[in-house]
């Protein structure tokens, strides 16, 4: 058809703009039993930490109107085990692997970046400074522009891999954080992480989640996410991976038109494991029907129309 879908996210070459939201797609093997992972533009794997983490007590999720709360608490086998056990599986695919990292301290982030730099088979690092589900680090770094920049400066020094910064919507000004991390050497931005939320079980009269608060994701948050992409696109000249409630191509196109160069499918994978592939096919169809030759034409078009 002569349609160009390829995009470049801060040096990561993706054959199409569709990727996965960290923590919703495991390390890939799970959904590899349902869809062909080679269709994806890239895969962003589950958040990884220096040491293994058990995660939070259950219940870890709760359904909410058009959304869900999660408080997984970054359960993961640790970066060494990830490199040894999960990464080899992904090397069999023709697929850039982006590793999401989280730490308690600035040093943790830098160490992780260094380790992944040397691991081989990692296309880029997504720095999660916006996880609402852990006590230390996480959101704490993401909600203060200065601390966010500090993390990114250190990660930048520790690796030559492309650095994507994952931004939190739980801030007064997402633009302020975006500007600071751009200045600190980020190659790309991804947004949004989950909104801080909670639910109460009126029968037990207790919070539903074991961890009390959790992160809200899914279609419910989409308007907040599109707004974040719109605002940051106007202020910062870095490529954006847009996410938050994407379920279909129309949703993804909203993000692209708002300014996202790529999109990630998160919660929707749980509802429809074929969502990533369907988003991709729908974008192709939209481009064909509307005579669009290069996906780049659509990026941020809503600011110009």
């Amino acid at each position: 058809m002569g349609i160009n879908l390829a995009v470049n996210i801060g040096g990561i070459k993706m054959k199409n703009p569709v990727t996965t939201a960290s923590g919703t797609f495991g390390f890939g093997s799970e959904y590899g039993r349902i869809i062909d992972l080679n269709r994806l533009g890239a895969i962003v794997v589950k958040g990884t930490t220096l040491l293994p983490r058990e995660g939070n007590p259950t219940p870890r999720i709760a359904e909410t109107p058009s959304g869900m709360l999660n408080a997984i608490g970054l359960q993961n086998p640790g970066v060494d085990s990830f490199i040894r056990e999960a990464l080899p599986f992904l090397r069999d695919y023709d697929l850039p692997v982006i590793v999401n990292i989280a730490g308690d301290t600035v040093e943790d982030y830098a160490k992780l970046a260094g380790i992944l730099d040397r691991a081989g088979g990692v296309a880029g690092i997504e720095v999660n400074i916006s996880c609402p589900n852990v006590k230390k680090g996480g959101l704490q770094f993401g909600s203060d522009p200065e601390s966010a920049a500090e993390v990114i400066r250190n990660v930048r020094q520790a690796t030559s891999l492309p650095v994507i910064v994952k931004l939190s919507p739980n801030v007064t000004s997402i633009v302020a954080v975006a500007e600071k991390v751009a200045g600190a050497g980020a190659d790309a931005l991804s947004m949004i992480n989950t909104l801080l939320g909670m639910a109460i079980d009126i029968k037990s009269r207790r919070p539903v989640l074991g961890n009390i608060m959790g992160g809200l994701s899914g279609p419910a948050v989409r308007p907040v996410a599109v707004r974040a992409v719109w605002q940051v696109y106007q202020a910062v000249k870095l490529p954006i991976i847009g996410m938050g409630g994407i379920t279909c191509a129309a949703d993804a196109l909203e993000f692209i038109m708002a300014g996202a160069t790529a999109v990630a499918v998160g919660t929707a994978n749980f509802v429809n494991p074929r969502a990533t592939v369907e988003v991709l096919e729908g974008i192709e169809r939209f481009m064909a029907e509307n005579g669009i030759k290069d996906i780049a034409e659509l990026v941020g078009i809503a600011h110009r129309c």
């Binding site: 923590g23 919703t24 797609f25 495991g26 799970e30 959904y31 590899g32 039993r33 349902i34 869809i35 062909d36 992972l37 080679n38 589950k46 058990e54 995660g55 259950t58 219940p59 870890r60 999720i61 709760a62 359904e63 909410t64 109107p65 058009s66 959304g67 869900m68 999660n70 997984i72 359960q75 695919y93 899914g218 279609p219 419910a220 379920t247 919660t267 994978n269 749980f270 509802v271 429809n272 494991p273 074929r274």
Partner: protein, 287 residues
Amino acid sequence: MIHPEKRIHCKKYRIVQNEEPVPGHRLMCLHAPEIAAGAKPGQFLHVRCADSTDPLLRRPISIHRVRRDEGLLFMFYRVAGRGTSLLTAKREGEEIDVLGPLGNGFELPSPGERVAVVGGGIGAAPLFFLVDEIMAEIHKRGADLTDEQDTARQALDFYLGAATGSLLPSLNSFLVRGVRVHMATDDGSVGYHGTVTGLLQQHLDEQTHIDRIYACGPAPMLRAIDELAIRRGIRGQLSLEERMGCGVGACLSCACKIKNFSGDGFTYKHACSDGPVFNIGEVWYGH
């Protein structure tokens, strides 16, 4: 590039039947040959209840039974809340979106073992598939046995417990030849007056010999079975329930506490992919 053996199906399947054998419960039958073909007892389906984003998530429902030759898959579900209510409105001929088969499934008993299967309430649903498979195996082997051996071995004890009796006689009627059903209700309306674990305990005290126990039901029941079986050295498996997001092991929401290597603490495993079936003695019930 999807490994055919590991393949999980995600498709809309036609509803062949969705009836209400007992008030508040439904028996749904789907024409889903791909899933029926590969399914094992103890595995489950992840069912989308609405085309809307509210309710958003799928609902896990066990495979109640299969008829492989006809490509049929059965679910037996209790109308518990919004998702299952929406399922009741689906009519014959409509389609529903099902992901499966999921989970590890039960390990079948070794030939000759005496088996007790224990279901609490709707927890009995997946055990029918297990009982069907065990009995099929027994009947197949039965052809080679003497009459005596036959009587001893062509049997399986199915313990069914519930709060009250309405569900039980109906469950009983689904069963096949050779299954001895023992019923218990908390209110004594049907069968033994007390918990199903109490009934099993009584039978064991009365010298009934059991080599292997399979159980599914509410958490307190599973805990009691676990203790009882460990105490008597009976092997077996429990099927656990946890809230699920993805159903395939990707989201890590369905964490279950499993004893760690040294046994003095726990580690999390995942009901959807490491389970829902775990060995007796493996689950961490805290201190």
